[in-house]
């Protein structure tokens, strides 16, 4: 596919904090309906790259080209406004975009899609469990009807069973609404489950170590396939950094 048809193109992007380079010369593009997982050892600048892509941080070098109307971000923490009910929190993205007060049944539908019941919507975030808060955050992102969603390690803080159902939720939403997504994670199995393509950012600020396309569509791959692929790739030298840095951290 030509670069013109891409929803999002990062062109030679580089960034530094206080003169210390985080990464340099990164090229990344997002095709319509494509989910790209961005992996890397902790501290390699995954989140910074996502924030640059989402326009929250200006890159020091390079260009970001966006060819879509609207995007949404799902953060690592739910980041719900504690003084608004869940209903108003889900509607927040729409109101922030200048759409006025959205109809209540539209918000209720978004709530149902992520598994929130009608009486949950009247509660304040403090009254919800951690998993329900993250569900509300996903609903808030879906509610703006985005063309691109940026996920910044959204499911790291939830337990394994819940993580799986939240991943299924994202996969189902992507199949239904055809948005593109950049999904930052440090979990290889999560990336293989959810994404069409994955890119591994290196620790030594050299840009990407490798980019791989994953066979099949997200949601159609079975657990056996995911397990085998993760096993095979974790022995691959291109992925070594992902696991090595954890070992160094332990010693």
């Amino acid at each position: 596919m030509g670069r013109e048809a891409m929803k999002l193109v990062l062109d030679g992007v580089g960034h530094a904090f206080f003169g210390r380079a985080v990464f340099e010369d990164v090229d990344l593009s997002l095709a319509p309906g494509e989910i790209v997982a961005l992996l890397g050892p902790s501290g390699c600048g995954k989140t910074t790259l996502l924030q640059i892509a989402a326009g929250l941080v200006d890159p020091l070098r390079g260009r970001v080209r966006r060819a879509y109307r609207r995007h949404a971000v799902v953060f690592q923490e739910p980041r719900l406004l504690p003084w608004m009910t869940t209903h108003d929190n889900i509607a927040y993205g729409l109101r922030a975009g200048g759409a006025g007060r959205p109809p209540a049944d539209a918000i209720a539908r978004r709530g149902r899609e992520v598994g929130l019941l009608a009486h949950d919507l009247d509660k304040y975030p403090a009254e919800l469990s951690g998993g329900m808060r993250q569900r509300a955050a996903v609903a808030r992102a879906l509610a703006v009807d985005p063309d691109v969603i940026f996920f910044d390690e959204p499911f790291t803080a939830v337990d394994v069973g819940l993580k799986r159902s939240l991943q299924d939720l994202v996969i189902a939403a992507a199949a239904r609404e055809h948005f593109s997504a950049l999904f930052v994670t440090h979990d290889l199995a999560e990336a293989v489950r959810i994404a069409d393509r994955l890119a591994v950012l290196s620790e030594g600020h050299r840009g990407f170590v490798t980019e791989r396309r994953i066979e099949g569509r997200p949601g159609e791959r079975d657990d056996r396939f995911i397990f085998d692929l993760v096993e095979a790739w974790s022995r691959d030298p291109a992925f070594a950094e992902l696991f090595d840095s954890e070992r160094e951290g332990l010693s």
Partner: protein, 272 residues
């Protein structure tokens, strides 16, 4: 269905708020008991009994000149309160957003805070003469730093993560201030405002007494000159009642309504 439900919710809240007044009344009656004990030890001339004071208050309220004096003091206190809150809060918020403004204004506020209110009264008397302006100025200057500090702290401690979230959805500065910063700011501003309201009454009466500009402070000066101790006590009680009213009738219900979401976070069984 919907209006009825919200009306019921409102009456429920109002009932709970009024009911909580019993606890406040209990505290006040404890104070009255201690006062009565003091009266029985030292006698009426030094400390009139609460009952004598109540009678003096009734007599005072029926005087023709009382309404005018109370109005004078109330308008000065409220003008001082409004100006102090307005100027203090706005400069505090600006200072919270802008680092340069904070560095510039903080020492100024410290200087204002360091000058004793009594010195301000003297200066105000020279500048404004024996008019209500001196009382208002003293209130503004004495009470302004509290609102300033509240606004500054509230904005400085706002949740940046929520701010970034709002920005990611394309919220403009005004929307972000209204939905992210302001609800957080309220919990810093209200304690500052209630303190300001209380000190506004005190300082107004003090300034009136010293500058002899009428109002309740002027009455207090006359009563002192005549050694009319029950009347002195009655004027004190009236001032305190005004201060209590501004806090519990004017400010507290608003805060209670705005901060309902905090109650939601309190687990069951620990409520109230």
């Amino acid at each position: 269905m919907k209006p009825l439900a919200s009306f019921l919710a409102w009456t429920g809240w109002a009932g709970r708020y009024l009911w909580s007044a019993w606890a406040g009344a209990a505290g006040l009656f404890c104070l009255a008991a201690a006062w009565q004990a003091g009266h029985e030890i030292y006698g009426s001339f030094v400390l009139p009994s609460p009952w004598e004071t109540v009678l003096a208050v009734v007599a005072l309220v029926h005087e023709a000149s009382f309404a005018q004096a109370a109005m004078e003091t109330a308008s000065r206190a409220l003008a001082g309160f409004a100006l102090a809150v307005l100027i203090g809060t706005i400069t505090g918020i600006v200072a919270g957003y802008s680092f340069a403004t904070m560095r510039l204004t903080r020492p100024i506020v410290t200087v204002i805070l360091g000058v004793p209110p009594i010195a301000w009264i003297v200066l105000a008397l020279i500048w404004f003469g024996s008019s209500g302006g001196s009382a208002v100025l003293t209130v503004v200057v004495a009470a302004l730093p509290i609102s300033f500090a509240g606004g500054l702290q509230g904005v400085a401690t706002r949740d940046r993560a929520l701010d970034i979230m709002a920005r990611s959805f394309g919220a403009g500065p005004w929307m972000r201030f209204r939905t992210v910063t302001l609800p957080h700011l309220v919990s810093y501003l209200f304690p500052a405002w209630t303190t300001t309201a209380g000190s506004a009454w005190k300082i107004t009466v003090m300034a009136e007494l010293l500058s002899n500009t009428g109002g309740l402070g002027g009455d207090l000066a006359t009563a002192r000159a005549l050694f009319d101790i029950p009347r002195v006590m009655a004027l004190i009680v009236v001032t305190v009642v005004f201060a209590l009213c501004t806090e519990y009738v004017l400010l507290d219900p608003i805060r209670d309504r705005l901060e309902r979401w905090r109650e939601a976070g309190v687990p069951w069984g620990v409520r109230r």
